[in-house]
Assembly symmetry: C2
Homo-oligomer: 385 residues x 2
């Protein structure tokens, strides 16, 4: 097993990008990452995407993007695990490099959501849930998350306003990120007055519908050491699964795939939660931030919103999260999100996060969640020189 | 890099399986493969699928199938490369085992096509082509293949009836395969009289719309040696890509991804085309059999249909192809096909192919094609004891 490093990153701004197609978005991020890595072309490309077949009539996306990036002929495949597609594509790439069968592997998360109607987007997103037992009954994806949030509020007696701290932190961090969709801070009053999307999830509890692409280039650690740049080593890549349908879970407030993937990641890296300097959380909905933090061992069950209110997860706090704006502020192009999380983490580990730099960031973690917690991927990366 | 072996196989019959859902099909094939391998559960599951998001409203399929197979918690991701999904999922699994990061990896190809209308299926299949430059102009997938076949007939002056030899051979072999969709032989006269689908592709030049699932279990070669069963070793796993759109190809009769993947596979295995005992060809359309055979070095350009007429590709011939019926006779549940090809090859290498057994089959190859040749995966497997 070879050690694996990230040698290049790239990303497009996130937004309603009506003048850029899927292939253009993907190639833009990839060319940037390849230039950053100083490579001509990779051996293999894994594209993370969830919705192109439905919203853009395009399957076979990895091969299309490889060609448009100028890399006709290389290996290519698309990896999908709903909103955890990006994390699973990165894991696939880590193993390909570790196998010794290929050397340089590119990962590109790309999603184009805004060209279709809200109804089409809502039904496309619902394919992340169990089609036969949830989707067929009309449950949208936000509705399922609303059930979880309502249960959290009831079970732990947490008032809705306590969740605002997650959104306020994310929006504050997005202000300084030139690639973020929403570069404006919000106050608790703005959060409290926001219109409901699916009670109790309001506008600021939800991440936006958007377009974007992010990319990373992986290579053997030995190759990375010869490049004379900050070395970002993959210390752990772990994933776990749960039932797609909420009704089949043992406890809908305990994301077993979040705790399972985090436990495996800590074991592989030989570290504890307290060793982690920053955590890119999957804040697709406020309640998912809470459940991910609690599942990964960063907060006791039922306490994460209060800890957020205390500033523990702000830059400068005990464990900064959503440091470049997270899914809420930076944006959530669903299949691309896991790669954006990694790009944000690597930006921090390299010390290139500008006004949002987490001081002395040496060891960081991401958690990328698919469905209402059915697939969760945890990565631990380290600045190794 | 660890050597990798296949320790279990499973498959469902192929057909219009209206009383079985996606998760049931997938789990049926996987449980059969796990029982064959004698394992409780794998560490990781890769599901190959192309159409579930469109035709069954279901993304996130790998995690769903893992749970339904009784393996809640294991790693899972879906791999897609149009009709080459199965081959790319197998390659992903080979690398995961070779990396040493996981030990036992399951691959399941599953597709459910027949629950929707022909119009919906036709547009879903067209997503394998370039949506912006082919699909948007109304080109269906069979229409694109018809362009290729017409060009082949014109360029090489091959009459349509010469292609019949591929269909006759495939149907003959399907008769003895209990899992095949069409267990009936056809004659040249039947082929010649078949109705046109998209001129010059007639009914017997096309593979059917169908449902089915196939599965394999991979493990380190060392583990396979302890099981006391025929050892099936993966000698080479290679893939290559080309443009999605036909108009961008340098030569539409030369599948560069077919020749590229085959060349890499021979090099990795250290063998020549003449060393291969049987070849599971991707006969989605008759002309694809010809182009794959020619790209892989088994026939000179423009000659494959004549060689088929001479019986070279029949069981007992120089290089048997489509030995269990191929995509035409056995069936072509698109995302699952690459795994069916591997299951058929392994059945032959184990000496379990019954009336269709290729004598002294020790080294075999598959080629799995996505789109009109944009992604091609070549695998060489060997009976190693």
């Amino acid at each position: 097993m070879r050690d694996v490093a990230v040698i290049g990153i790239g990303q497009t701004p996130i937004g309603e990008l009506w003048d850029l197609s899927l292939r253009q978005l993907g190639a833009n991020a990839l060319r940037q990452a390849a230039a950053d890595a100083g490579i001509e072309k990779p051996d293999t490309l894994y594209v993370a995407n969830m919705l192109a077949t439905r919203l853009s009539n395009q399957a076979h996306l990895a091969t299309l993007v490889a060609d448009y990036a100028g890399w006709r002929g290389i290996e290519a495949a698309t990896i999908e695990a709903a909103c955890a597609s990006g994390g699973m594509a990165f894991q696939t790439a880590v193993r390909a490099v570790a196998s010794g069968m290929v050397n340089v592997v590119a990962v590109c998360g790309v999603e184009k959501m805004t060209d279709e109607t809200t109804a089409q987007i809502t039904s496309a997103l619902a394919t992340a849930a169990d089609a036969d037992y949830e989707g067929a009954h009309g449950a949208s994806f936000v509705a399922l998350n609303a059930l979880i949030m309502r249960r959290y509020m009831y079970e732990y007696k947490v008032p809705h306003q306590a969740f605002g701290a997650f959104s306020i932190n994310a929006h504050k961090n997005a202000v300084n990120n030139p690639n973020a969709m929403f570069r404006k801070a919000i106050s608790q009053a703005v959060y409290d007055r926001a219109p409901m999307i699916a009670d109790p999830i309001n506008l600021y509890d939800s991440s936006p519908i958007c377009d974007g692409a992010a990319a990373v280039i992986l290579a053997p650690l030995d190759m990375a050491k010869r490049l004379g740049k900050p070395i970002i080593r993959v210390r752990a890549s772990a994933s776990a699964t749960d039932t797609l349908s909420l009704a089949d879970r043992r406890n809908m407030l305990s994301l077993e795939a979040a705790s399972g993937s985090a436990r495996k990641a800590y074991q592989l890296a030989g570290v504890n939660p307290s060793d982690i300097d920053l955590f890119e959380v999957h804040d697709a909905f406020s309640v998912m931030s809470a459940l991910s933090l609690e599942g990964a061992g960063f907060a006791e069950p039922g306490t994460a919103p209060y800890r957020a209110q205390d500033g523990e997860f702000a830059i400068g706090g005990r464990l900064p999260i959503s440091t470049m704006g997270g899914l809420k502020g930076r944006g959530h192009p669903v299949g691309a999100t896991g790669v954006y999380e990694l790009v944000d983490l690597i930006t921090q580990l390299r010390g290139e996060a500008g006004a949002n730099q987490v001081q002395a960031a040496a060891l960081g973690m991401t958690q990328n969640i698919g469905g209402t917690g059915a697939t969760v991927v945890a990565h631990i990366l380290e600045r190794a020189g």
